[in-house]
Symmetry: C2
Subunit: 339 residues, 2 copies
């Protein structure tokens, strides 16, 4: 089948349910039943209709179905930004789930800009989508579930997130068990739920090991690599510098590696570093990063299934899901150097 020479031709070429009905000598309703695989159709009628449908390549018009049925089959997904494998991984999971449910994913980016967030939220309620997966929380009269919430959410808002605290705890314990006592932490931006919970995990591990947390050992970053190198330099410039650094994500851990490289420090010989996320980046770096794996794709996938469940049951349930994280030990951690 060659490409249509122009759009008009393409549009005209679309077969409607009425034409199929006429061709098959049945009513529109019957065709509808067949294509929606309803049970109450005689086998022979079904076969007949199916044949005509096949022959003419009929596909039901989604717009019409949406208008009539009240559901578009689209779900929206807002994401702060595309770059970095972090969000891509979540998106990938969501796409997978959406594909399996024969729905479509309408993508929006907010770029972390407030204006943009507002306008995206507005667009979300224009009927183009049935619901949304949101990577930023806002109140709005629209069915949605928040994935990986940036800030603490009201109860009653469905959300799926990862076990940040437990992951950070495991990461710090790992360092502790290796013999480290001066363990620096590069945190995410203050106010972000994930960043806060990871600090908490770091603190509890320290406390459990009887190590006194010092605020000078915590430097704040913004989840981007450059902030990681800056923070690493601050930490390493300390009179009594850390022998290990736990960064709140892999990007910043990459920054730590870069800073170490600049100072001629070997990893893990002179400095151990642990990341968080287990993004693709973690295994691309040398040495490969010891990090905490977040089930990113699962996050996206779970978000979709939560949403579709809400959509089907016709009512919003307050559901909270927390997915487990786990430490992945690779090459960037080892015992501290002897003094």
């Amino acid at each position: 089948m060659a490409r249509a020479a122009n759009l008009d031709e393409y549009r005209r070429s679309k077969v409607t349910i009425r034409e199929i009905a006429d061709l098959a000598g049945v009513s529109i309703a019957t065709v509808s039943r067949v294509v929606n695989s309803r049970g109450d159709v005689a086998p022979e009628t079904r076969d007949l209709v199916m044949r005509v449908v096949q022959e003419h390549g009929y596909m039901t018009n989604r717009s019409a179905r949406a208008l009539s049925g009240g559901r578009t089959g689209h779900i929206g997904l807002t994401i702060p930004l595309m770059r970095g494998d972090y969000f891509a991984a979540i998106l990938e999971g969501a796409l997978e789930a959406v594909y399996e449910e024969d729905m479509r994913l309408v993508l929006y980016t907010t770029l972390h800009e407030h204006d943009r967030e507002v306008s995206v939220l507005e667009r979300l309620s224009d009927g183009a989508t049935d619901g949304a997966i949101i990577l930023l929380p806002e109140e709005c009269g629209f069915p949605f579930v928040v994935v990986d919430p940036r800030i603490p959410l009201d109860d009653g808002i469905p959300a799926v997130s990862a076990a940040h605290r437990a992951g950070a705890l495991a990461a710090t314990e790992h360092l502790l068990s290796l013999g480290h006592r001066r363990i620096g932490h590069i945190s995410g931006p203050a106010g972000w739920a994930a960043a806060t919970e990871r600090i908490e995990g770091y603190h509890s591990a320290l406390a459990a090991a009887g190590v006194l947390p010092t605020s000078e050992l915590i430097a704040e970053g913004n989840f981007e690599a450059p902030s990681g190198v800056a923070a690493a330099h601050i930490l390493l410039d300390l009179p009594d510098p850390p022998t290990a650094i736990f960064a709140s994500n892999d990007n910043m851990a990459a920054g730590v590696l870069q800073a170490a490289h600049e100072r001629g420090l070997t990893v893990p010989g002179d400095l151990s570093v642990v990341g968080f996320d287990d993004a693709d980046l973690a295994t691309i770096l040398s040495p490969e990063l010891t990090t905490v794996r977040q089930p990113l794709a699962e996050l996206g996938r779970t978000g979709v299934s939560l949403l579709t469940r809400m959509l089907e049951r016709q009512r919003v349930e307050a559901l909270r899901v927390e997915l487990a994280t786990r430490l992945v030990v690779r090459e960037s951690t080892g015992p501290p150097a002897q003094r």
Copy 2:
């Protein structure tokens, strides 16, 4: 405005054009004219309607508009896979353009699987979208433009791609000008247009400098990092190993860095490496990668504008766009070591 307690309530809460018309004491047609900013409306009527619209938060229902107007305002975008900043960058550009045109982007992944590609193509023509940006070329009766074609395309298929040949030429010339004569190349998969053109650029630069290309200096990879380390080892195991390696993308260049690291080779001291893409990865690595910048976001953006132009003119034009690439010199290249 609090969240609707359940979906039914949410759905009922949507205001229709008819209600606005009644409230404003005008006809449906008038409201339609106003919200679509048609000229032929009296200023006072316009203001009145606008006020009512604002007050009730009316938004025109996209499904109804799509059914009535024959255009959904959605455009599809198929992408092989989400991971890696490469496709993300293209997607980002496309999203930007789509946002500006007040359209929506429906995302599909093919995972490079043939079955998946076919089913995605089918879904594309179900009326959910007006047209598509495709990262894989197939003939189908549907308006689309191919971005970054994987294989050579028939004339007559609108496409936008980057200047692979020129970029590879610049990269190789750079190495040559530094004094390198044994320059290895890690290519992309055979048959991919981008890979082939980059090899051609590499060859012409060599030829222009009077250096005889040797096939042993070309190793094939698959654009992923592990294939880069494998290929690098092959090249470096040569009796007369290269002093510089030009990898066909940044992922594989990262693999080369990793291989060098494993062998205790310093970059660029013992080995120079050049990548291609200038993905985010390039500046996260240490040393930062000298690479050829592809205008990834521009690729996506241009794809969208090409498509919308096609959609508006109501006919398919055969347009071919090639966007310029440019060499970005960073830390991973330098003169060859003295023998």
